[in-house]
Symmetry: C2
């Protein structure tokens, strides 16, 4: 059995949000949010958090598991999810209910409106994300473990990355190594992008064979007890040409400046600006086509976002990625990514691989 | 490059649905539906099908890929999905638009309503599922290939299933074998459920070690070019006791009777009844706690459903599973699943493993 996470403070933060929003209850449908607030890991269900004990609604497959994993809740069996939710709300006599608009489907909310005519629904999405953004020590332990598994797997796979081997085979071996070392799953579809493919930030590993002189971008992660790791290494195979070295140096500096900018109270867009400024100054601004980072936890992408548009502010306990990149169409790209913990004194790097340019193969 | 699927007849069927529904356009958000109707395999986008050439809306990551994969569409780049959809609808001058209520989130539809004030939205979910339920020859080829990969992987892993080996390690090896043989991914989280765990229809493979006398339920599948396979084998390790043999025989007969019932024009609930009748007659009715089967294609679970509540009717070209089971809490369970093609003369079994009781280990 996994250790029991520190659920009570999380539910308290949600209740504080309820009060601030003038709501009597919150309907949670996102399974990661349900897991966060209860410990329940099933693949379907709903959670109603109001004044009393939270009600965890599940179908017949999950009653035993829910009682075991979520002792802080009242487990309620439903045959039909919408009816189950409507009954839970009616039993609580609540009329002002918050919900997750980016998770609830039109079909579900329409059915709920028909069944619970007295309820007024209020969309609240970002507020929930903000609660999850600050990690407690147990969560940081799980993320570290996921990172350790992923790094161990990459170390054991590194010898395979050499001329003649195709991207897809490296991805299959790396994912197998992560699973063998205990990962629940890969954190996302592993990216192995070599040569010109490395110019595509979201390349899928294909049949291209590694060649001497390639840059290989490896963006990968593992899941441990629901928590994700996320790291990107860009290796040079055989050796790196001048242009490659130049791009790598710019991205590395952008990465380092962003790391230095990380501190509680700093605006996420200022961390993004720290990385982006370096890349723009070097003349590659338009080729850094994504944000500098994002929160990592039960989802591989979660709050806060580190981009030009972000209005989030870093807090102690957030776990975020720093991952600037430059992508030259037809030539290749470099991305350098660490996952870091926001501490009082700044960023603590959790990921394990050195981000100096490494020649392999 | 994958072969180009036969897109045009699919779009024609959707247009016929538009006419029947009195709509001018359809907004498709489900990525599997988009893939089905265009060939585009990206991880984000939207499709508007109206009178003219369908408009495939994608973000900057996907314009090149969309043009390559979906030549039958007009590829439109958006910076913001909602604005992109609103502009496409406004450019087409359409006011009556169908959408997928079980896919569209409340947030997305609210934003669309704000941006496209003239549009009236009509939910249409099942009708789209019905279009995908009947497979064309190209789709059947892909499903067969997925089945062949999965079966090859299970054959190569079978020797590992012996006393002392834990469920999770078997799952890791089986999934690795599928990936090595070309699967894009496993079709779903592989189920390896041994001994008493086999009494849980949705067990997750864990640390339990196989013991002599166990039944081991293996429910697994592979994905090939987006298409899924789905098969369940229940093996006896070392040998099977009387009670095991008895349950197996009942489930096998239920499976065979359901297979015999499959024919174009037959109600899906009658196929379910054929299996369920055998199990009820043997006294295990309440222990067969799920439907008899479901369609398989771009989703591992799609239309039609084969259950007591289904109002679908089998048609030539549907690909469905037949998977009755009996689950005795604390003792163990048996599930036997084939994927079959509905042909004029009846069911053609596509899955490759014999469903006679096999002793392994």
């Amino acid at each position: 059995m996994p250790e029991r996470p520190a659920i009570a403070p999380r539910v308290s933060r949600l209740r504080a949000l309820l009060r601030r929003s003038g709501l009597e209850a919150f309907l949670i449908l996102d399974l990661k949010n349900i897991r966060y607030l209860t410990g329940f890991t099933g693949s379907d269900g709903a959670l109603v958090v109001g004044a009393g004990k939270p009600a965890l609604l599940v179908d017949g497959r999950y009653t035993t598991q829910a009682r075991k994993q979520a002792p802080g809740t009242r487990v309620v069996l439903y045959r039909d999810k919408v009816s189950g939710i409507a009954e839970a709300l009616s039993a609580g006599g609540v009329e002002h209910v918050g919900f997750e608009p980016a998770v609830a489907t039109v079909e579900l909310l329409s059915s709920l409106r028909r069944k619970s005519k007295k309820v007024r629904w209020k969309p609240l999405q970002r507020e929930l994300g903000a609660i999850r953004a600050v990690k407690d020590p147990g969560e940081i332990t799980q993320i570290r473990r996921a990172i350790r598994i992923a790094a161990g797997a990459l170390r054991s796979t590194l010898g395979r990355i050499r001329p003649g081997v195709c991207e897809r085979d490296i991805a299959v071996e790396l994912e197998y190594a992560m699973r063998s070392m205990g990962a629940e799953t890969p954190a996302f579809d592993t990216i192995i992008a070599s040569g010109p493919n490395s110019a595509l930030p979201h390349a899928r590993p294909g049949s291209r064979k590694i060649r001497p002189g390639d840059f290989v971008v490896i963006d990968y992660g593992a899941v441990w007890r629901g928590y994700h790791s996320d790291e990107t290494c860009t290796f040079a195979v055989g050796g790196a040409g001048r242009r490659h070295e130049r791009i790598y140096a710019v991205v590395k500096e952008a990465h380092d400046r962003a790391l230095e900018a990380v501190r509680p109270g700093v605006a996420c867009r200022d961390v993004d600006a720290a990385a982006r400024g370096v890349i723009e100054k070097a003349g590659y601004g338009p080729l850094f086509s994504h944000g500098t980072g994002h929160g990592v936890g039960l989802d591989v992408h979660e709050a806060p976002r580190l981009s030009t548009l972000s209005d989030a502010v870093l807090e102690k306990g957030m776990v975020i990625t720093i991952e600037p990149g430059i992508y030259l169409p037809g030539f290749g790209g470099v991305r350098i990514e660490d996952t870091v913990l926001v501490e009082k004194g700044g960023a603590r790097v959790l990921t394990e691989f050195s981000k100096e340019l490494q020649v392999i193969g």
